[in-house]
């Protein structure tokens, strides 16, 4: 709840309802930083939306094979990180699965049948990062979608703006992808990925980010649907064995992206999690839970 030294606001952005709590100063001094933080999120939305024909992502998908396309520094940074995680995950995190998502009805538009991601070499090999924030596609059929990472980046940008402007305690929650900073840990309730009407566990986070992915809701458009919006680029079909995953990481962009890898790779994702100083828990179809050891103490299961 908002108190005299904190405010709580929400706006519809990124296809979800984004909530910001800011504290540590008189409430009257907090509106301006919170507005600026929402503006940053709105800008990420404009730059990286797959649906908006004027976004950097749409311009890249239309033109980057024919010519080098200059993008905003933020888009460039998200692309660089996405390609880095693509490499480190052996191709499991793949921003070029847009045509597959279209084929499964998870993104709008007609898929280009002639392109399919081909595992580790696909995205990294097809997308060239050039100087001056320019991008070039080596393959005519590449279509990127930053839906698996941009929301986390937006949360990080908003958080940085709150900090820059003197806010000392804050939580930014973009429909479940969230980050918190301040002197006190924040309690977060994680829903049961197999049944969102149920609470699953409670996690304390301090100066860290948390993101969750599950099978039964649409990560791309934020609507409920029966299928899974996460595609295994190797099997080229929606993920089955893991019902849901939650990742804690130093940044929300990393947490957001790594949930997709954990959904696909399960226990095999341990090395990647360590590399990014991240923790995870995931739930299998059977209801069994796996959790990284360092995180065990911070997680309390509903019982």
């Amino acid at each position: 709840m908002a108190t005299s030294d904190s405010i709580q606001r929400a706006r519809p952005l990124l296809g979800t309802i984004v909530e910001i709590v800011a504290g540590g100063a008189a409430a009257s001094k907090l509106d301006e930083p919170v507005d600026a933080a929402f503006d940053a999120i709105a800008q990420v939305h404009r730059l990286m939306s797959f649906h908006d024909s004027k976004s950097d992502v749409s311009r890249l998908n239309r033109e980057a094979f024919d010519r080098d396309v200059a993008v905003h520094a933020w888009t460039y940074r998200v692309l660089s990180t996405a390609l880095e995680i693509h490499r480190y995950s052996g191709g499991l995190f793949d921003i070029t699965v847009a045509p597959l998502l279209q084929r499964h009805g998870l993104l709008p538009g007609d898929p280009d049948e002639s392109f399919s991601p081909a595992g580790p070499s696909s995205a990294a090999g097809c997308i060239e990062l050039l100087d001056g924030h320019r991008i070039h596609y080596r393959n005519r059929h590449v279509r990127i979608d930053l839906g698996g990472i941009a929301k986390g980046f937006a949360v990080d940008q908003a958080l940085a703006i709150l900090r820059e402007r003197g806010v000392t305690r804050g939580v930014i929650n973009a429909g479940g992808d969230l980050a918190a900073f301040g002197p006190q840990p924040e309690r977060v309730y994680v829903r049961n990925p197999a049944n969102f009407d149920r609470r699953f566990c409670e996690v304390a986070i301090a100066n860290a980010a948390l993101a969750s992915s599950g099978r039964s809701f649409d990560l791309v458009r934020g609507t409920d649907r029966a299928g899974c919006a996460i595609i295994d680029p190797n099997g080229r079909s929606p993920v089955r064995a893991v019902a849901g995953a939650t990742v804690r990481a130093p940044s929300c962009m990393i947490a957001d992206a790594l949930t997709k890898v954990v959904m696909i790779a399960g226990e095999q994702s341990i090395a990647l999690l360590r590399q990014y100083r991240a923790d995870a828990l995931f739930v299998l179809e059977s209801g069994d839970v796996r959790i990284t050891p360092d995180w065990q103490a911070a997680v309390r299961f509903a019982a």
């Binding site: 709840m1 709580q8 706006r11 519809p12 969750s212 934020g222 226990e267």
Partner: protein, 150 residues
């Protein structure tokens, strides 16, 4: 692999805890008006729904159904464009409680001055992406209806 701690199928336990009812009052109508059009006076055009700002601009409040319950939101229009959208109140409930009149009654007549106490301690939820689709549609509808008002 031995690196992971395993919790074996507490499935019965896991599904026994109902997600809590959740309700947040972010802004009163007056607070939202002041944020959208600072230092303006407001004259009501449609009672409780549409206001005109003395500094120029239209302020509209409306609600849409979220997952099960209403989301109240405010739209500030200026020169036929959406200047700002704020969520005023968000409510969510699951299972049986939504059908209980006494549970629903607690939302009636709530304002910023009498904030909701439901699920007070539960501020952050991860693991479900709340759709803003209905809000986005609601904003478009308001723009179409009132965009030409000056």
């Amino acid at each position: 692999m031995t690196e992971w701690i395993r919790w074996t199928a507490p499935a019965a336990v896991v599904i026994s805890v109902s997600a809590p009812a959740y309700a947040v009052q972010y802004l009163s109508v007056e607070e939202a008006q002041a944020l959208a059009f600072p230092s303006a006076h407001f004259s009501e055009i449609q009672a409780g729904h549409v206001w005109k700002a003395s500094t120029g601009g239209i302020f509209v409040i409306d609600h849409v159904i979220g997952k099960h319950l209403y989301i109240d939101f405010a739209v500030a229009l200026e020169g036929g464009h959406v200047r700002r959208v704020d969520i005023l109140a968000y409510r969510e409930s699951y299972g049986g409680e939504i059908r209980s009149p006494s549970w629903l009654a607690q939302f009636v007549g709530k304002t910023g001055a009498s904030p909701l106490k439901v699920g007070d301690d539960i501020r952050n939820i991860s693991g479900a992406t709340l759709s803003s689709l209905h809000v986005t549609d609601g904003v478009k509808k308001i723009l179409a209806q009132y965009g030409n008002l000056r």
